[in-house]
């Protein structure tokens, strides 16, 4: 039983026909368009800043993706992110802990908050939407009460220096490498590890997976804890980029990017299917559109309109591309 749920389809679509290839084509076309309109788009400085925001968007997308995999949602990605931002800032600036210790503690807090979400969802059986809606408020509210919304901007210099650091010919931010590394780890996790396969199976069909002897509750809890840690990573990357711990980071602003990346990348809201590469490309699309509109001088005001239309177009394309072979197959069968 489990095998069938977990098995790869026998026929794999060639890459050129897949969704990722489509995204890549759109991405290259957009990049070419923006470069043609304003040559500054491919400047090493613009690519560097683009890479930094891309890194954050990718990790935010991953944070949502791991929960989507199990068929849930996490509306508290931004709230956990900002809690980790402020906790990290506190550990570094006020408690004076060494940076790696402070980061580890802050990420542990993110994991703990996500774990709390997961336990509540798994033990009570309440919809993850409601639980994380409530916890998003609890987390953000507690953070505001504890910090009085005051930013911490006397962090150790090396934090900001990491955000300014450039590698690989001056246009790659190490933050982007962090995001890609996490992506590789997640891809291996979902493709080859038992727990990863079981998490996907949980999302695909909760009851069947449970019947097959998989502890689905623990998989859901683990997914939420992982989501919390990833939201925390995104938060710490934000701290590195700004060089300060701002209470305005994260929150509701992360809601849209957190869904955009995975969903444009092909993840199913119903669970059971995620694509790490797609999430990266989806986030890249968002970042490219945002940066391109800025470079072309259209400004940030129309950005939301374009993002919304692109999301809609991408989802529609995915839907109709997916539905054609399905119809043919059902007719044959």
């Amino acid at each position: 039983m489990t095998e069938q749920v977990l098995q790869q389809p026998r026929y794999r679509r060639p890459f050129v026909m897949g969704q990722q290839a489509g995204l890549l084509v759109i991405l290259i076309a957009l990049g070419a368009l923006f470069t043609a309109k304003s040559p500054g788009f491919l400047s090493s400085f613009n690519l560097f800043t683009l890479g930094r925001s891309l890194a954050i968007d990718i990790v935010i997308g991953f944070s949502q993706m791991v929960v989507l995999a199990t068929g849930g949602m996490n509306l508290s990605v931004g709230s956990i992110g900002v809690c980790v931002v402020m906790a990290g800032g506190y550990f570094m600036q006020v408690a004076g802990l060494p940076i790696p210790v402070a980061c580890a503690l802050a990420l542990a807090l993110g994991g703990a908050l996500g774990w709390l979400n997961g336990v509540t969802i798994a033990k009570s059986g309440i919809n993850s939407f409601v639980v994380t809606l409530a916890s998003a408020n609890l987390f953000s509210g507690a953070m505001l009460i504890a910090t009085k919304a005051a930013p911490l901007n006397a962090l150790p210099r090396s934090v900001g220096a990491f955000g300014q650091m450039r590698v690989g010919g001056g246009w790659v931010s190490p933050m982007l490498l962090v995001a890609i590394l996490i992506g590789v780890a997640l891809a291996i996790f979902y493709r080859y590890s038992v727990i990863g396969r079981q998490s996907l199976a949980t999302g695909a069909n909760l009851r069947a997976t449970e019947m097959s002897g998989v502890p689905v509750g623990r998989r859901i809890i683990a997914a939420h804890a992982l989501s919390g840690v990833l939201a925390g990573v995104a938060g710490l990357l934000t701290v590195a980029r700004v060089g300060a711990a701002m209470p305005a980071a994260g929150g509701q602003d992360w809601l849209l990017p957190s869904f955009l990346g995975p969903v444009v990348g092909g993840a199913s809201l119903a669970g059971g299917f995620v694509s790490v590469g797609g999430t990266i490309l989806g986030a890249a699309l968002v970042t490219t559109i945002r940066s391109g509109l800025l470079v072309m001088g259209i400004g940030n005001f129309w950005l939301d309109l374009f993002l919304g239309l692109f999301l809609l177009a991408a989802v529609l394309a995915q839907h109709y591309r997916g539905s054609v072979p399905w119809r043919r197959r059902s007719r044959e069968g």
Binding site: V130, V263, L305, G308
Partner: protein, 325 residues
């Protein structure tokens, strides 16, 4: 509002309604606030309190209708913001008279809802994603048109309506008082409303009984847009100007109020009175925190706690008859 029909008026009935806990919270909370701060029961404070719930009630209704049919409307605030801007813009920039601008604004809201509904019902894409995308697009239109600058020159009649009051009764409250019974009539007595709830309760069973789920979904999104548009017009009247930020903080309230009020997230069951009381409780918390000079940051935390408490209460009530979520 549906269960009492079967339960009858017994002693067990009152604690078994969606709103009994909320009503108790309001009474106890008001008594405590009146005790803590003599200003609480002053005519002006009651007016301020009631005025602050009008937009919220419409926003909660807008979300409640999509929840009723088993959908979600993440674009509720974005649509409201776009309607508010177009409403203010057509009056200031094109001199459209108020009597024409209000129906036009409502029509824009319905049109936005129609787009949501058609996409959600006929493309097979999850309504969550559809409204996430259209919400972003609506916000983009709003910000793109205004460049974040508000329209200030609103007709005096609108501003007078927004600020006017009989004693402690704000004129703005007329809108929810008119809309609520109409909504109850629609959902509980009219065939279209019953179909909407039937689709939300069990879409397949409704389809087998000859009800079109697609039509019900489109209708629910249209009405959601209509209610969000009314909320937007009220918000413009209340603020006295058409601010691009109108609607940006609606999303959370729109889900919190119906859920606290007992509406089922999965669809098929709504509580109009519960949603109204939930908005009142939230307003009371905000008002109370101001009166006792507490940290305003507590609002968000308490709202989260309130959602948790409401879910726990609902589950406790559902326990004896074995109804899960």
């Amino acid at each position: 509002m549906a269960p009492p029909l079967e339960g009858g008026l017994t002693l067990r009935w009152v604690p078994n309604t969606d709103w009994a806990g909320l009503l108790a919270a309001i009474v106890i909370g008001s008594a405590a606030l009146a005790f803590l701060s003599p200003n609480f029961l002053s005519e002006f404070n009651v007016y301020v309190l009631l005025r602050s719930v009008c937009v919220g009630i419409l926003v909660a209704f807008a979300q409640m209708l999509t929840l009723a049919v088993g959908q979600m409307n993440l674009a509720v605030g974005a649509l409201g913001g776009m309607v508010a801007i177009l409403f203010g813009g057509m009056m200031e920039a094109f001199g459209v008279p108020l009597w024409l601008a209000v129906p036009l604004a409502v029509a824009i809201g319905v049109a936005g809802g129609l787009v949501n509904g058609l996409l959600a019902a006929h493309t097979g894409i999850n309504g969550f994603i559809v409204t996430l995308a259209t919400g972003s697009a609506f916000t983009g239109v709003n910000l793109g048109l205004t460049k974040s600058a508000p329209f200030y020159k609103m007709p005096h009649a609108l501003q007078d309506f927004g600020n006017g009051r009989f004693g402690a009764f704000p004129f703005l409250l007329i809108a929810p008082i008119v809309v609520s019974p109409l909504l109850a009539l629609f959902l509980f007595r009219l065939p279209a409303g019953r179909r909407l709830l039937a689709v939300g309760g069990n879409s397949e069973a409704a389809a087998l009984s000859g009800v079109s789920p697609a039509n019900a979904i489109v209708l629910a999104h249209c009405l959601s847009g209509l209610l969000a548009a009314i909320g937007a017009v009220l918000a413009v009247a209340q603020l006295g100007s058409a601010q691009p930020l109108i609607g940006s903080d609606w999303l959370l309230l729109s889900f919190a109020a119906p859920i606290i009020g007992g509406t089922a997230l999965a669809g098929g069951y709504v509580s109009i009175f519960g949603a109204i009381l939930a908005v009142l409780v939230i307003a009371l918390i905000q008002n109370g925190l101001v009166l006792v000079n507490a940290d305003p940051y507590w609002v968000q935390f308490l709202l989260g706690a309130l959602i948790v408490a409401a879910i726990a209460l609902n589950r406790w009530r559902a326990r004896p008859i074995g109804l899960g979520w």
